[in-house]
């Protein structure tokens, strides 16, 4: 952690790139905003008489429970006081898991009357807290984030932050509101809190390898869990359980996982792409358990200066795996952020800067450590939502390109009116995507499907 301080204290230069970063909100985390000693704590923070920071957990899956655990593992006096989930079994198992370790359990103060179940559960949990953790499937994020900001709450929300353009626009509007209200918002794009990324990208921004003129970002892997349909489930119940395979909930794996690497491309470039084109499909994962999403996407993201960054993501078992990023600059390159020892190299093989990862530095913990430290000190330091939304939009734009097979511009994508969210949320309501008689869902066909 000690090596963060240099980064934090680094002054803003007049360099155009950094100026952009500042304006665009890209320098989130530790660099965007200085401490505001006069910051008034009037926005739901320190609402209790003592120093307790009260947390509501919205979305009690494995990641939500993990995030709550990380919040409870910070140095501050944090308590989880409310929990909400669509499913009671998920909520109760999360409650049980949070109570397994005595030192964590003593900070879990969630009696039955503060455990809320159902689609509206978040509305009951949010008012009870100073900080809300939003960790449901991403389709719900815009609605939940909007509500949290409306109620003047600080937020930790998992990536991605939406699954379609209307959702992104809601998050961007709420992000503006959060800024006005000086609400800290941390987004779980945890590479922004990971020491090696911070150190390496700071050097890249300072010009160590010149201007970035190309690169590739990857999430090629074997895929994730699948939840088979159970007898007696309603369609809504099934899609909610097997949420990874439905776009209104997940946004496809280019969004759900690969947003991390795409976000790194934006971070390194210091901007967002102006257009993209790509290809994708379902080659291996074609069964009815896999909903509508593709199993591979390859996208060229084009930035305003003409630079193209290639993105690859794939869910094939038994193939080469890589979750990483590489970039080339006019003076040098970085081949990997994923290894233990990272290095910026020039084209003669000379190391320009290297950084070895402390194996104990856990970015998932650091993001909470820094957020709760800021809250305890009454500081406004984190405004991650805008970048979270724009990097999510980049991934969604990639999906629009691979589904449609067309060139898609940023403006078209951001203004898309395609709204994937169901018109009604209840266990009996029908999502917009439904299976055919044989149980298969319609899948996008490039060249035919309208995806923007």
């Amino acid at each position: 952690m000690s090596n963060h301080s240099n980064h934090r204290d680094s002054g803003m230069s007049d360099h155009g790139r950094r100026d952009f970063l500042k304006k665009s909100g890209l320098l989130t985390g530790s660099t965007l905003l200085a401490t505001l000693p006069s910051f008034a704590s009037g926005y739901g923070f320190h609402s209790s008489a003592d120093d307790t920071i009260k947390v509501a957990l919205i979305g009690c899956g494995g990641r939500g429970t993990g995030a709550a655990m990380q919040a409870l593992s910070t140095k501050q006096n944090v308590k989880v006081v409310a929990m909400a989930d669509a499913f009671s079994d998920r909520l109760e198992s999360a409650y049980k898991n949070l109570n397994m370790k005595p030192e964590i359990a003593k900070r879990v103060d969630v009696p039955a009357e503060r455990r809320f179940v159902g689609f509206d559960a978040y509305k009951q949990a949010i008012p009870l807290a100073d900080v809300v953790i939003l960790a449901t499937p991403p389709g719900f994020r815009p609605m939940h984030f909007e509500e949290a900001v409306k109620q003047n709450k600080h937020v930790f929300m998992e990536k991605p932050v939406a699954t379609d353009a209307p959702g992104i626009r809601r998050v961007l509007a709420a992000a503006e509101e959060a800024k006005k209200k000086k609400l800290n918002v941390v987004v779980g794009l945890q590479r922004h809190y990971q020491p090696n990324y911070r150190e390496m990208i700071k050097r890249i921004h300072d010009g160590a390898i010149g201007d970035i003129v190309g690169g590739s970002v990857y999430w090629v892997s074997g895929g994730v869990w699948v939840k088979p349909r159970q007898a007696g489930q309603t369609e809504m119940d099934y899609q909610m359980r097997n949420w990874y395979y439905f776009n209104w909930l997940c946004g496809d794996h280019i969004n759900e996982q690969h947003v991390h690497n795409i976000d790194v491309a934006n971070w390194v470039k210091g901007s967002y792409p102006v257009s993209c084109q790509g290809t994708g499909g379902r080659e291996v994962r074609t069964g009815k358990d896999y909903g509508e999403i593709f199993d591979h996407h390859i996208v060229d993201f084009k930035y305003a200066d003409g630079t193209t960054i290639n993105s690859q993501c794939r869910h094939y078992e038994g193939t080469y795996s890589k979750v990483d990023e590489m970039f080339v600059g006019t003076k040098g390159r970085i081949d990997s952020f994923g290894g233990r020892a990272n290095a910026l190299m020039d084209y003669k093989g000379k190391t320009l800067f290297s950084h070895t990862i402390d194996p104990k530095a856990n970015a998932y913990q650091i993001e909470h450590d820094e957020l709760f430290e800021a809250l305890a000190k009454n500081q406004y330091k984190f405004a991650d939502a805008e970048n979270g939304a724009k990097s999510t939009m980049t991934a969604i734009m990639g999906r629009m390109a691979t589904y449609s097979g067309k060139m898609v511009t940023w403006d078209e994508a951001l203004n898309s009116q395609i709204d994937l969210f169901p018109t009604q949320l209840s266990w009996d309501a029908m999502p917009k995507i439904l299976p055919n008689q044989d149980g298969f869902y319609p899948v996008a066909v490039p060249g035919k499907t309208i995806a923007v």
Binding site: R63, T65, G66, Q257, E317, V323, G339, P359, Y364
Partner: protein, 329 residues
């Protein structure tokens, strides 16, 4: 006459029976049914050896002593670390099915009941390579379930080595710090460590084997054993308080891991060196509860399997293959 031939027959019958039960201890290649994969096993004769290191050994730690005599029953040990090629067949049932479809003659039903790892969220090889490279990042629980799967596939009982078996096999009759002597400078010929790995594991079997023909015992990846790790285990055992040279696992951390890795200094790969597992090996797992199958942050830990000459009873096998599932927070 009648009497003699009756006893004679009985004698031959019994001898035949015993021979059928106790296979000959010689090195062999295990075919993996339903696939094209093979796994070489090296015969390790039984014997007695001094476990631990002398107080004078360079780089020695207190948990390696006092040296004490341990008797080892004969067994076979994997010539190489288990590679992703084989581990992926276990971890991904679809791959196993597809491989079996290309290699007919194996009844997949035998492995259908196997408990298998949940798919990892990120690539557990961390881009260091898969074909021919050692599988890593599995928990000890997962490594044991791999053995159970292998038993279902082959009918041969395989398990993790005990710490004592591991060190005995690593030493291969030697008493020096490494099986090739005391000079870590020779390590470059025998093992992968920080000084020659260039920051990643390597395909198995690329360095010289030890005197008994086992590769990568000094480095490449650390290897799981069956034992709980107690720093004072030898002190207790040497006093006679612990007779069995095997410490049954009762809590999740730490367990004993052996052999050093690509990410360690050579000294960690000495024959007697013991490494305790640590909760930080799952530090990157952002979920709660954490995966019982994947470590996520231990790209330096793999394993190889052993087969004891005398097959235990089905009851004992069941006990080996059903370690308690311990929650990990």
């Amino acid at each position: 006459m009648f009497k003699i031939s009756f006893w004679g027959c009985l004698f031959f019958l019994l001898t035949g029976l015993v021979q059928a039960q106790t296979p000959e201890l010689k090195s062999y290649t295990q075919d993996i049914p339903g696939s094209k994969l093979k796994y070489d096993l090296v015969a390790i004769p039984g014997g007695t050896f001094m476990m631990g290191s002398p107080a004078t050994e360079k780089g020695r730690k207190a948990d390696e002593g006092p040296q004490h005599s341990v008797k080892i029953e004969p067994f076979w040990m994997g010539k190489m670390e288990i590679t992703w090629d084989l581990y992926d067949l276990f971890a991904f049932h679809n791959m196993e099915k597809e491989m079996a479809a290309q290699n007919p003659g194996f009844d997949l039903a035998k492995t259908d009941a196997s408990t298998r790892p949940s798919p990892p969220y990120v690539d557990m090889s961390f881009g260091m390579g898969r074909a021919g490279y050692p599988a890593i990042n599995m928990t000890q629980y997962a490594a044991i379930h791999f053995c159970a799967w292998l038993y279902a596939k082959t009918g041969i009982f395989y398990r993790l080595p005990t710490e004592a078996e591991w060190e005995y096999a690593c030493r291969a009759g030697t008493k020096t710090a490494y099986s090739f002597g005391d000079d870590p400078k020779m390590m470059d010929q025998y093992g992968w460590n920080k000084s020659n790995s260039n920051g990643a594991y390597k395909q198995v079997g690329k360095k010289k084997p030890n005197p008994w023909g086992l590769h990568d015992m000094h480095g490449n990846v650390m290897e799981w054993t069956l034992d709980q790790y107690y720093p004072d285990y030898y002190a207790k055992k040497a006093k006679g308080t612990v007779k069995e040279p095997y410490a049954k696992v009762t809590v999740l951390y730490p367990n004993a891991v052996r052999g050093g890795s690509w990410d360690d200094d050579a000294v960690v790969a000495r024959s007697a060196s013991r490494i305790p597992s640590d909760p930080s090996w799952k530090i990157l797992d952002p979920q709660t509860p954490k995966s019982e199958w994947w470590l996520t942050s231990a790209s330096f830990v793999g394993f190889r399997v052993v087969r004891p000459l005398v097959k235990p009873s089905e009851e004992e096998i069941k006990a080996y293959y059903n370690p308690p599932l311990m929650e990990d927070y």
